[in-house]
Amino acid sequence: MLDSEMNSATIADPKVVCRDVSVSYSGKQALFDIDLDIGSHQVTSLIGPSGCGKSTFLRCMNRMNDVIDGCVVTGSISVDGVEILDDEIDAVQLRRRVGMVFQKPNPFPKSIYDNIAYGPRIHGLVRGKDELDEVVQTSLERAGLWEEVKDRLLQPGTGLSGGQQQRLCIARAIAVRPDVILMDEPCSALDPIATARVEELIDELKRSYSIVIVTHSMQQAARVSQRTAFFHLGIVVEVGETEQIFTNPRDERTQGYITGRYG
């Protein structure tokens, strides 16, 4: 284990601060004392071989692990200075502020409109139909999907192509005006063209949101993120500026992973 000074786990203006985060599933520990800061208005990518705990870590940040039986999260995670692992914190409210996009596009089997409108409706974010229409349109516009779907808002979201579905899911996530968006391998089920569009979108979105993305693609991490954390066997091996991680990794395990020697 390297000294923590070598890892720039802490940054000046963090959005999310994670300290000593450990996770175990039914007694089996998956994450060990993770320290990591997520910067405001930038993209942080989590890389690492399968099973290293990066998705688990991601899911801690909006407490999606709550719904898994036997999952225990310890340590401290704070968003804008508010401790979110506290039982007092309502996970439902948290998930409005920390949105999530999943590996496989998973639109609701409802119309495109209802997919976007669902979140604002259940959180009571809008008053009246006009306001809701506006939220739907802005969300779709920001997700770069408006032009493609504006004439068929009432058709099922599941009828779109894979890439469009994923952008629909991103639009759905931003419709509830979150601060942080977590993306769990959002492009792994998409073809290169759809991937490129989603990456462009991520680049756009970082102006308004703090984004954390789990990815298996080194190139993607290099392209979209400003900071990168390398996970291995449940610990953060190295974290730093993306450029530094990819050009001048300090740890030989990072070096080995990004050059494709293992993982």
Binding site: L94, R95, G119, I122
Partner: protein, 433 residues
């Protein structure tokens, strides 16, 4: 295999070819078994349907004897008050018999007369009373009325009684045959659709017995069953599947639900007798209690079907809903249950279809009684379709044989209707994801 071991080089190919052939043969054989199994099942089903239709179809028509009945005022309403209760209780049989005597003036002996009157159904009273009730101006007039033939006559006219058999073996004697031949020659004997079967309750006289009472009874019973078992079953399944922690207690509950699904239905009948009738003192023979017993029987089926439907909803939908901040209840009611609905409905309808055909538990709570009146509510005494079939099958009269099969056809028709409904609902609510 021995070929393979003995031969090397090019001979291995021959062995492989042989091996491949063997595999193809095995596959063909397997397919053949499958086709044979399906053919056997279809054949049995066809046999069942054909035998039932062949015995039962005649019950859907009924012979009548057309008589010129004079509605004599002095018999029907001697006081002339036209009071409906007087009109209903008048001796209409006398009128019908009088017109029969006119047709056969040479029948003089007492015994012969009784036989002659026996051509007509005992329902003639009711039939003529209904006519007069609907149109009191008939009184004093003569009108040609088609009066139901008695069950023996009907059976004879339908060809179930062989006129060449020795007279002592026949329910219809030579004299009666002669009268019937004469009536038939004069065109007085008609055959028409048996509407009574679809509109009336049970009767001791086969020609008067109807299935409608049992159908209404079944309807009320199933209504109670559905109202009790569907909400309880779906709620139980949803709680167990979506909210309950997975621990030893829920395991025990799950095992016991599966056990309950396998309990013989008559046990539920005994339970209903002991608890609902003897302890709570609910009315005997009532669709209310029948429905409650059947609900107990149907519950495990609905719970198991609903749970598997809920399980089949992809976790990605739950995650998506949680991801935008839906609460657990919102995830379940907005997304999971609507997506599981086709499966839940199918399970419920299959459970209902089973309840519709159930007899044994209803015997225990007294729904096997002879009930003529059409039930008007869930607390009226009633019987249900399968029990009515059982009752008719138990009756000695020849004409009940056809009615039993006709009842079976009606029951099967309803079952098919319900299964079709299940398919339609499934198609309608099904959504892809």
């Amino acid at each position: 295999m021995t070929d393979r071991e003995q031969n090397t080089g090019i001979a291995v190919d021959a062995a492989e070819v042989k091996h491949a052939r063997k595999r193809y043969r095995a596959e063909r054989r397997f397919r053949m078994y499958g086709v044979a199994a399906i053919a056997a099942a279809a054949g049995m089903l066809a046999l069942l349907v054909i035998s039932i239709v062949a015995t039962g179809w005649t019950a859907f028509c009924q012979h009548s004897i057309a008589l010129d009945v004079t509605f004599e005022a002095k018999v029907i309403d001697p006081k002339g008050g036209r009071d409906p209760s007087v009109l209903a209780r008048a001796d209409y049989r006398k009128l019908a018999r009088a017109s029969l005597r006119e047709l056969f003036p040479d029948v003089k002996k007492r015994g012969d007369k009784r036989k002659l009157y026996g051509l007509l159904s005992l329902g003639v009273d009711q039939q003529l009373a209904e006519l007069v009730a609907s149109d009191p101006s008939l009184i004093g007039q003569t009108r040609r009325v088609e009066i139901y033939a008695s069950d023996d006559v009907d059976s004879f006219l339908k060809g179930y009684i062989d006129r060449d058999a020795p007279e002592s073996d026949r329910r219809v004697k030579d004299k009666e045959i002669a009268w019937l031949d004469k009536l038939e020659a004069s065109g007085a004997i008609t055959s028409h659709l048996n509407l009574r079967f679809w509109t009336k309750g049970d009767s001791r006289e086969p020609e008067l017995a109807g299935f409608w009472g049992a159908m209404v009874g079944s309807f009320f019973t199933l209504l109670v069953t559905l109202a009790l078992s569907f909400p309880v079953g779906v709620l139980a399944a949803t709680y167990l599947e979506e909210f309950a922690p997975k621990n030893r207690w829920t395991d025990i509950i799950e095992v016991n639900i599966n056990n309950l699904a396998a309990v013989p239905s008559i046990v539920f009948g005994l339970l209903g007798l002991a608890v609902f009738l003897n302890f709570f003192g609910l009315p005997r023979s009532a669709p209310l209690v029948g429905g409650m017993v059947l609900a107990l029987m149907t519950l495990p089926t609905i719970i198991i079907a609903s749970r598997s439907a809920l399980k089949a909803v992809p976790p990605s939908i739950r995650e998506a809903a949680f991801g935008v901040g839906a609460s657990e209840l919102q995830v379940v009611t907005h997304h999971v249950v609507p997506l599981a609905l086709p499966g839940i409905l199918t399970g419920a309808i299959i459970g209902m279809a089973r309840a519709l055909g159930e007899t044994a538990p209803l015997l225990m709570i007294g729904m096997v009684a002879f009930i003529v009146d059409i039930p008007g509510s869930v607390t009226d005494p009633a019987t249900v379709m399968p029990v009515q079939i059982y009752l008719w099958a138990d009756s000695p009269e020849r004409a009940f044989v056809a009615r039993t099969s006709a009842g079976v056809m009606a029951l099967l028709g309803f079952l098919m209707l319900m299964n079709a409904l299940a398919v339609i609902l499934r198609k309608r609510f099904e959504r892809r994801w």
